[in-house]
């Protein structure tokens, strides 16, 4: 028996950030990733592909997100180099199966605890989508220093998130 539309919506919602992340790893554009998620959600609801299991739906959503994102990249006429599709598949296969809700909550808590300058650099990079060289100029830092700070922030947030999930 196929999943009801209510279940499809609930399932996609519960994995929204991960699915959008699959697209964003290719597009590196937040709005494009969000549009891709919307598009595949509508496709799923339209019922062209019947889903019997939630895991099947999630798997389909990740694959579709990657394909749509690759099409988006191709429409940019080669302006951006992109990872091989096989590598992207490999990266996506290892998403943990646990619901993303608790991880999101933990991550948001960690973000709230960041010093203002650390949060500013993440906002500049990911909310405003400013390239790192521009952030470097804005903050009066070298480009490598910006890379290092963002890299450290990602690792610190990962550690903080894991700690919060474990307690």
């Amino acid at each position: 028996m196929s999943l009801s539309q209510e279940v499809i919506v609930r399932t996609l919602l519960a994995a929204r950030t991960k699915i959008s992340t699959s697209a964003w790893m290719v597009t590196r554009d937040v709005q494009a990733a969000e549009d891709i998620f919307q598009n595949l959600s509508v496709k799923a609801l339209a019922g062209a592909t019947p889903f019997e299991l939630e895991a099947q739906l999630i798997s389909w959503a990740h694959i579709t997100a990657r394909h749509e994102a690759l099409n988006w990249i191709r429409s940019r006429k080669g302006r951006m180099a992109c990872l091989d599709e096989a590598v992207l598949n490999l990266v996506a296969q290892e998403w943990e199966e646990a619901p993303e809700g608790p991880r999101l909550k933990a991550l948001r808590g960690c973000l709230d605890g960041l010093p203002r300058d650390s949060r500013q650099i993440l906002d500049l990079r990911y909310s405003e989508e400013r390239p790192c060289d521009e952030i470097a100029k804005t903050l009066g830092l070298g480009l490598e220093a910006v890379y290092q700070r963002i890299s450290r922030l990602h690792r610190a947030l990962k550690q903080c998130t894991e700690q919060r999930l474990a307690t």
């Binding site: 554009d29 490999l90 290892e94 948001r108 990911y126 390239p131 890379y147």
Partner: protein
Amino acid sequence: MSDALILRYLDGTATPEDVASLNELLKKDADARALLRTAAFQALTVADLRRVQVPRRDETARWNKWPLAAAAAVLLVVAAGVIWLTRPKAELLTVVRSTGAVTWNGSTLTVEGANSAAELRLIDGSTLMLAGDSEAAFSGTRGTEISLRRGSITVEAAPQPRTQPMVLRTPTAEAEVVGTCFTISAQTGQTMVTVGSGKVRLRRLVDGASADVAEGRMAVASLDATTPLESRKIPPLVSNWTQTFDAAPPAIWQGQWVPADAAGPGRLKNVLDVSYRKPDGTVVPAYVVSARNPSAMTTIRPDSVLRVKWRVGAPPVGALLLLSVQHSDGRFAGNFQTLLKPEEQAADEKGWRTFSAPVSSLEGVYPAGAKLPTVGRVLLFFMAVYTPKGELEVAEVTFE
């Protein structure tokens, strides 16, 4: 090593060699794959949080076109479930202000009439000015994929994401923008770009040739692929400028040319144009003589004197005189106007009057209270009467 590669990849600055190295690394290294997933997940979470915390004013639900059509088919069934999908997203652009006949249909902005103009702001903070008879369509997730179908547009582009820069297309060329102030105009068979600050990459569509157009330079892309596409220095504009009409004027002029005869010297007679549209869409006409040059006609200072030899029919009616001016770096400065009153200017035996006054005597009307720059560039000279029997004629325009 893996951190730097991953961040360069996510930043869009990785070279093909970097991406090849990253591919190899990710195939072998589960930690690197985990780091990529983690960084990407965190990035989207940060972006999501910011959207929730800072909702945009005037947000309305926006869907891409085909999902909307598909959604319509299933919406009745799953209405409750998909409400979240229509969460607010920013409109492509905001019309900050406009004058004259300006219409926006959700993706295309149309500006009708020589003295009509609209100032727009895109989601990323870039501002654009469409002026004169111009039409532009906006697409892409940020509205930064712009098709200029006709007319001219002046852009003050905010710094653009390297991975998705603003792109302006015309029928003959494509301009890619990083962060700059420039004017692009689409004329029949050719596209002209003048750059006030920053840099624009212009690509000629007929053969794919491209040229970087730097600050203070201009380039023209036409359908003629036999000539090289090159940028050149913007010619300095003279500050003493005169246009008479004893010979047919250049194409920048709007009006019906009348050669010299017993009634007067060579002149331009008014033609019908759109002045503005009423809220119900009704067009209000104007009878116009004008000249628009996207790369500007002349430089002016506030004490520059404007002299116009003009005539109207009987009984004489007042005429609107308007200048559209930009700063020397290409930013729009404003529209400045005055009403020429026949009773204040004596006519000669053939009915010709001469207006002569410093340009500082014109009132800044768009935006309201606009001030003339210390050094400005005149983009538009415009005169109009608003009655069919006004019979406006212009025989000479001089800035000195």
